[in-house]
Symmetry: D2
Subunit: 422 residues, 4 copies
């Protein structure tokens, strides 16, 4: 059969049209035969199918758009399965945010105790997708964007045999920053990248193969406005924006507590607006509000991977992959976010010979948390859940662990079969 | 010459008689010819020499007691050089404690920002001792008890060729606890021990080769009353008492802030009492107040090492040693506190095949801090000082670093030639 | 029950009285209640039981001597199980020697193709012993002397949960040499030891903690008369005598081919003489011919281990143990022969930070062979058998592999159920 | 300045026109401004300059051809410096071949004792080139084709700061084989590649991302006609053709001894013929005899590297690079031949998570030899020369070492200043 089948799991997400848009832009490069939309929410799925058909027709993109609520049908024979699910929806996200904030702890959908709960809800669902793929799409690729992508990818690689590549738009942030700051095209910007999802550091930035000047470094770094510029200059390497939660904890927590709405609540409102636009049968353009939704760059990364694999083109990309020794101070089984060579044979991590001097301990501390959290999520093990929080640099204190654990479990009860069922 | 020359650097410390006491108890085992007391404080040195002579005479210990303020004379030909110095005295210790407390951060003489400042004051002095030993006592052993012993030992091993063994009484805590709780003699109690000084974890405790029962574990653990017993039971391994600063941070900081005196101020008062007793020419017994001074067990550990080395007796001991791969996730150059085989050839670390699942990340995080702090201390590098504090799990936030650094440097100005000269 | 049960598997070996002799010498140290002799050869077992009773009576050693041909009875409740079996007897050993010699290859009972065949015959029997011990003596120790001890120990550690310590008298050779050459007592001689059984190198020899002089080094090295002294001086470290097969291959093969009898044939004759003496009911002394039998030092090593474990005495010993990272360039699962700390908790390898510059490649090459041979032996896999021989530095050529494999299998047919059954 | 300066060191080699030919084919891709020919042999240099000018004119390749015997002038400002030198010429090569053959040892220009002598002659010259480049072309790349390329590259990376990439056409052999056997284009053939130059193994071959069938594997393997096909099928991975010297030693040595001329002597004759053609002022085509010269594929590899670097195109290539942990069982400082991602930032090795089960020991053994040989070559250390030969799997025996060392040194006397000068 000519062209690929591209399945979107969680297609009811407002993000779906971004993927189509990217397919449209790359239509000469990527032969997509069929886009299969899958969701458990029939209503959103229906709206999205309708919009996607109108949107692709408008773009002149010749691709068959289908939808289903049957997972097996969605996965069967898929070349790529892109996952962007939110188990429990924004309703649960808001709890992830608010519960830790009560104790002046970071409340965030990927970082800290909140991120762990999102992992707990998501991992069982993703393991099911992966296990069905083992059978229904054994050579297909699961492209994961579902957060926390590092933990989800580690769970899938440690407990299934499915092919998975975990992505985050963070992998191309330095390219985005250099373009925004100085108009430099992506392909001229290169760098070393090491760490975990949302816990990574960028060093040795070059433009067209030559090291950036100090001035250029500062211009690029200034685009990462979540972390103090003076701090970045001291470090000499650029931390992920998520490092704000580590280096500016009190300040950011205070800001969040003072905010009238959490990010989750804000997104809930935004989604209503966006979905109203999608549902409008006369509308065949991406709603303006979508840009405020976040996640910029992901569709580009995902389709860059599809191109590298499908067309067998050697491409350097940042991917979440099993370590297997590429980062020597982390366990073999750990999923790490590092530079990889991608082509039709999959992705292979570049060996990381050196890690910036000031961050390896922090990366190790967070990975220790992550591995315990993944095991707790899979096994439904409350002891490991406690150990995970004790190992987390942003929780660590026993007092917090004792209070948080019952509250978090209770708040997520209906989404945690591994903890509450026999 | 028969018998060893045992030099005490910082002999003006109130602790000195404890070492003599241990020599007395081991007199059949250890042939000590000469005890050389060295200090820069002539007054305290004079008092101590007088007391030590009376004390050893009282014990019937046949050893020549000498004193000097000439370092080279003290080190020349010494078989063992025990160091227990306090650069800047308790006056500076009190600053180490109070400055961080202002920001609700741990203020403590070995842990956190305070411990780092103690390292900064101490390391230049200790490097000088070590370098003089390279020449004056090339086969002698430097036995270091000066805190923070992990950082001091790492500085000496990375920057000199002197033989150094870094000790802490923590290495025998499980033996002390099992004895106290159940009357079990030291030699029957064995365990795995891994980590850093004041950042370590004890697992696989056995009594006479058999694993402890759960009940015995709890009895032993309960003796470590700085860490919550429920937490220790959850961990399944016993953390160093110093982990209180990590697992109970807020609670302990609050307690310290509420205390009328810091530990340093308390010790200052105590020392006055103890030294009055030492100065009394009719007194030839250790003052009762000395027991409240802390450091119990160290003289036993130090003399245990002397016995293993001097008499060439295979002995398992916990020592601070260069890692060189014994703990695979830490750098080769890192000093670690692990079980070693000690005999006349020195000490060799036992290979650590497994680390308890929940602590390797924290150990890595603290080691990352330690290595940066050692380099900052040696090079007088303010940037590395900042990086060290950012890497420290108990400081980490940029806001604290920005405030602490100028204040700490100013408060220690006269003791930091590496930062202020040239 | 007071005192230990010490079982000897393969007690019909002429070596058995050496173990009793060592027990006799250590009677104050080791409380042996019962010595259980086990063998499948009833006749030799009977002779040995009779002799051992007379011998122990003569020594005044108060220990109950029993015998059985029932393995479970022998293993049940044993504190230590010493194994010294020879599957197929000297008859098969002679084949191990002669078949490779036909192609001018080393024919030897532990090294090369012959050693591999001995492993193939022995491993299934030893796995059975180990698996019975899992049930019948779960806290007891299997002390293995059966050659090739490295391969046997690796098979047992990789495929069973029994406690096993693999020994060879080679671990104390430098002590024996220094005593013989200069009368220095064992306890004063120390050294680093790294490698595999019969593939190891000794460095950093000290006498009473001080490095040996060049002259002393030469005196000690000269006792290892299987390897050219000029070569040892060049190396600067002392290789195992078995390295003769690697560094002097042609010369030694030529000598063996010229010899009227192989070592196996010589031992066959010697055994007749020795057993005649054992069978003599008036004889209660070890026959003079026993000294020519080889294996000197093993009983000393074995009982040294029993002492360290049973009496919980920290002791440095060379043991064959799972690597688990102690030697960083070898696989985790590899059994290595290195210095260990032994006491009642078992043995723990000392970390090997440095390997002599010229031998790590050869050690790796032989370990690669060993791991393939162990897997071939356990799985009865002819492909892995071929790979093992290709990996062996003393075979390597395809031409040899093609010829040797059918011939070796045929010659050992009745002892290789794993290859010929099913 | 537009376009690159491409310098050829050893331009008097008959191989030079192959590089020009490749430049011609890639003229759209590679902007070459100047080709600078350098040699110490003025006569050959003159002939080659003349021919290259005619040849490039004929091809219509617009590039300036220059020549010089002044190394600094040649290196100054070069973007790429391709080295293909033969210190001592074919005269010495013949000695490398013949001396070991006297003892029935492999005599070959890259493998065994002969290869070591070539390294000894070449390394001092190459270190000089590299050190001049540090100054005269600090961002330029040294592309090394001079054999033994693994040892030369390791010497340059360990002892200088020049940028060097060591190549061998072996890196694309599987592509060449698949094309020859089945007409598959290069870009569809991918594989894992691990080891050292001339000591490597190819596994996991895919065609267009899909694993080859058994039948395809055999077809590809059959093209490697230096190693027995049955052996390759047993291995399941394809060894470098140079493994013939390890797996078929006796057979190949016998064949070489029986041959009327060594390879070196044959090439000497061939070169005369080829140079006569080059010298003919009417000739502007590559002589037919050049194809028999060997080295096919190298110009393609070299220019592929130039393209990846100069045009900043992500490309997977096999390169000789410092290990730095990419192959975990080899030393950090070892140069290994592995898959790398190449682009304008240089090359970064892909992490090697798994090595075929039967070859890691042999690779380690040869690397141990290589590191000792490199040190011997740089330091002029006869002891290390002996250790290197003892460590080499194809020499190993002391008897050979004793005989070979004086003979090899004597035969190369005039080319070994490091051994013979003070």
């Amino acid at each position: 059969m000519n062209g690929m089948k591209f399945t979107i799991v969680g297609a009811g997400s407002s993000y779906t049209p971004e993927l189509l848009d990217e397919m449209g832009m790359r239509r000469k490069q990527l032969a997509v035969r069929e886009v299969m939309l899958y969701d458990i929410d029939e209503k959103r799925l229906g709206i999205m199918e309708g919009f996607c058909k109108r949107f692709s027709q408008k773009m002149g993109l010749d691709v068959e758009i289908k939808s289903t609520t049957d997972l097996d049908k969605a996965l069967y024979g898929a070349d790529f399965v892109d996952t962007q699910i939110r188990v429990g929806g924004n309703k649960q996200r808001v709890k992830d945010e608010k519960i830790p904030l009560q104790y002046d702890l970071v409340g965030q959908e990927t970082t800290g105790a909140g991120g762990m709960m999102k992992a707990f809800r998501t991992i069982p669902v993703m393991l099911n997708v992966a296990r069905r793929m083992e059978e229904l799409s054994p050579t297909g690729w699961l492209i994961n964007y579902t957060n926390p992508t590092g933990l989800v990818t580690e769970a899938v690689t440690r407990y299934t045999k499915a092919n998975i590549a975990g992505f985050c738009s963070g992998g191309i942030f330095p390219k985005m920053w250099a373009k925004r700051a100085m108009g430099i095209p992506y392909e001229k910007v290169q760098y070393d990248y090491v760490g975990l999802n949302h816990m990574n550091f960028i060093s040795n930035i070059t433009i067209d193969g030559r090291p950036v000047t100090e001035e250029e470094f500062v211009k690029i770094a200034a685009e990462n406005d979540d972390v103090d510029l003076e701090l970045i200059k001291l470090l000499g390497v650029i931390p992920s924006p998520y490092l704000q939660w580590y280096f500016h904890t009190n300040e950011k927590v205070a800001k969040f507590k003072a905010s009238p709405k959490t990010r989750g609540e804000y997104v809930q409102d935004l989604e209503k607006e966006v979905f109203a636009a999608y549902a409008d049968e006369n509308n065949c353009e991406k709603p303006a509000a979508l840009a405020k939704r976040g996640g910029g760059g992901y569709s580009e990364v995902a389709m860059g991977f599809v191109n590298a694999v499908y067309n067998n083109v050697d491409t350097k990309m940042v991917v979440n992959v099993p370590n297997q020794g590429a980062v020597s101070f982390l366990p073999e089984s750990a999923v790490v976010e590092v530079g990889c060579l991608v082509n039709k044979t999959g992705m292979q991590p570049l060996h990381v010979a050196k890690v910036p001097e000031m961050c390896w301990g922090l990366i190790a501390a967070v990975k220790n948390y992550e591995q315990l959290a993944v095991e707790a999520a899979v096994e439904g093990d409350v002891r490991k859940m406690k150990l995970a929080l004790l190992a987390h640099p942003l929780v660590r204190q026993w007092e917090y662990v004792e209070k948080l654990v019952p509250e978090l479990l209770e708040a997520n009860k209906e989404y945690l079969p591994q903890f509450f069922n026999e």
